[in-house]
Each structure stands twice: as structure tokens, then as C-alpha cells.
Amino acid sequence: MADPMKIRATLVGDSTEVRVLMSHEMETGQRKDAAGKTVPAWFIQSVTATHNGKTVLSAQWGPAVAKNPFLSFKFKGGAKGDKVQITWTDNRGEKRTDEATIG
């Protein structure tokens, strides 16, 4: 089970700024281990963000994104106390969803 994400959502003027840290190895599939064996690719493939159940961001990722990725984005609207939910799915089908309250 992957570690929880660290999500911060803040209202700035009329938009919400969201900053997310994800805990993930993000293996490219290019690296070799000490024994010379290729480490299989293992990376987050899709990320979605919802605000009060409505999708505000949907992204397709690849193995070029660094380990423990940091994502920051803004969307219009949102009010203090609203929920922002982030979900990622990796190429092994593992999934993680975390939630933050807009402050």
C-alpha cells in the first residue's frame, strides 16, 4: 500500500491553488539494479483531481516524471471548506486517493 499523498489546497482570490506530493518510485524501466538486471517500469499513469465530485484536472503521465512527484495546479472556483480529491493510478493498476479541505 502506497504512502498517503500530501495535499494542500488554498484559496487565492477567485481560484484554488492545489499542491500535491505523491510517494511513488516512478521507475523508468531503463535502470539496472546492482546485479545488472533491468528494474521493471513502475510509474503513475493517470492523475485526476475532483472538486466537490467534479473533475477539475485529468492528466496522463509517463516514466519521465521524477520519483516522489510534485504537482501544482490552479482551478477557478472553490470555497473554503470544500473538498479536493486526488487519485492516481499506476501501470501496475495500483491506486491511491487522498483528500484535502480548501483553506
Binding site: L21, S23, L57, A59, A66, N68, P69, F70, S72
Partner: protein, 274 residues
């Protein structure tokens, strides 16, 4: 607007690599250093050290070990359970243990004495890898984060602290091994660098402050959070010395020397480094 910061940074790094490989004149060494500085600045946003901090806070509060006890009664020097500002006063002489301890050594002590772990279990995996995460790194990340902004205030009032400082200083200047290296080989002059890596002068206040207060740090090149014990361990590896043992007397003495020299500076870690 979407910023996939670290993906963009990877592109910067590739561009830098290309630049380093191309023929260049003296002037460009300066601009390469400037570009690296920009890269370091860009890294400051979204430090993954926070992931370790979150895990560490959990480990601190969650009951564990054979006694199924949490670490919340652990005395880091400011009384049982006081975490705020504790790291800025470490290392410290602990009367209950009868010796000087740095944070990482103290955590082993608490895990043995409060949680009932064996010394060997508490000392296992001080430094993590993707295959095996380190509780020490997570706990250290969280506890040090609770001293962010607090001025370093290590006291040498206790004679054992004074002794640790003196011994640490002697180890700092100890030259040995096939290459005749000491800590001081790289860290006792201002404005020097190895390749393009700037080296802090740890024998003067400003350098010690800059060096000491920015550990632990998330190392982007390793994708791991590294503690001060790790920093010493890896320096001695590059010095061509044998391996310094985690929490050993020499490493605590050296930490005491460096931490005391950093006194007065606001603690600024967990940081992020290349």
C-alpha cells in the same frame, strides 16, 4: 494552469548536461554555476521531505514494538514528549543514558527503552532504500521539522559535551587512509568547490551554520531523505576510510563539534539538495 515541476526540471538537467559537455571558455564556468543555482532554487517548491515527515509523525504517535508503546514519552532533551525545538539543542548529555547523544542515537535509545525493541532491531536500516524504508529517516525528518526556524543552541556546559566537542574537532582534522584525507581537506577553506559543488567551510561560523542547518535533506539524485548520520557516513566513504558506525562515539563527537559551531543560526531543514 498545470505545473509539473519536477518533469520540467528533468528537462533543465538534460539541458545542463548538454552544456557541460560542450567546449567552453572560463566565463561559462560561471554561467554553469548560475544555472545550477537556478535549478536549486526551482527545487525548493514541493520538497518530498514532507512525505517522510508525515510518515515520521505517524511512527512517533503510533504504538509499536514488543511493549506496544508509542514514542510520545520519549525525552529528546526538553522533557518527555517535547518535540518542538528539541533538535536545535542536540547533541546533549542524557543523564538517564549516561552519555552524549545526537537525535538518531536518542531515537534508538527510546525505541529500546520505551518500545522494548532490541538494540539490534532499533539500529537496523538507519538509511533507507526503495526496497526498505527507514524508520530512522522518517522519524528524524519529522522531529527536525519541528525545529524549523529555531536558533541552534547546543550547550557545552556539561563536561562530557565539552569533551565530545574537543574529540570531534580532533576527528575533523584527522588525516588518514591512502589519500591522506580528513574532513578538513574539503571543509576548512572559504569559497572552494569540488567539480562544481560548493563546499562549506565548517571551521567558521557562517560555513558551519550553512552546512549543519540544512540536514536532513531530500536528495533528488537519490530520491531519499538523508540524515546527518548519513552525511557523515558518506563523507567518510569518500575519504576512503572504513565505514563509520551509525551512532558511534566518533560520529556523535563530530556531530557535536559541527552542531555547536552552527549555534545561533535558525535551523532550516529538512531541506532539499540536488
Amino acid at each position: 494552469m498545470i505545473t509539473m515541476l519536477r518533469a520540467a526540471l528533468a528537462a533543465t538537467a538534460v539541458a545542463l548536461g548538454g552544456m557541460l559537455a560542450s567546449p567552453a571558455t572560463y566565463a561559462q564556468a560561471g554561467s554553469a554555476a548560475d544555472e545550477i543555482e537556478k535549478y536549486r532554487q526551482a527545487l525548493q517548491d514541493g520538497n518530498p521531505a514532507e512525505l517522510w515527515e508525515a510518515r515520521g509523525e505517524d511512527l512517533w504517535k503510533k504504538p509499536g514494538g514488543p511493549k506496544n508503546a508509542s514514542l510520545e514519552r520519549c525525552d529528546l532533551g526538553r522533557g518527555p514528549g517535547v518535540v518542538k525545538g528539541a533538535y536545535a539543542e542536540l547533541p546533549k548529555f542524557f543523564a538517564d543514558a549516561g552519555r552524549v547523544m545526537d537525535l538518531e542515537t536518542r531515537l534508538v535509545w527510546c525505541r529500546v527503552n520505551l518500545q522494548g525493541m532490541t538494540e539490534a532491531d532499533a539500529r537496523r536500516s538507519p538509511f533507507g532504500s526503495p526496497e526498505r524504508k527507514s524508520d530512522n529517516e522518517a522519524l528524524t525528518a519529522w522531529i527536525t521539522s519541528e525545529s524549523k526556524g529555531v536558533a541552534m543552541a547546543v550547550s557545552l556546559d556539561h563536561p562530557k559535551m565539552r569533551e565530545a566537542y574537543d574529540v570531534g574537532r580532533a576527528i575533523f582534522f584527522f588525516r588518514g587512509g591512502p589519500h591522506d584525507f580528513a574532513c578538513s581537506t574539503c571543509h576548512s577553506e572559504d569559497g572552494k568547490r569540488i567539480r562544481l559543488q560548493d563546499l562549506p567551510n565548517l571551521t567558521v561560523k557562517s560555513g558551519a551554520q550553512r552546512g549543519y542547518t540544512t540536514w536532513p535533506a531530500y536528495r533528488v539524485s537519490q530520491g531519499e531523505l538523508r540524515t546527518f548520520q548519513w552525511r557523515l557516513n558518506d563523507c567518510f566513504r569518500q575519504q576512503r576510510f572504513p565505514e563509520i558506525e551509525f551512532g558511534s562515539p566518533a560520529s556523535i563527537a563530530l556531530t557535536t563539534f559541527l552542531a555547536y559551531n552552527a549555534n545561533g543560526a535558525p535551523f532550516a531543514a529538512p531541506a532539499i539538495k540536488r
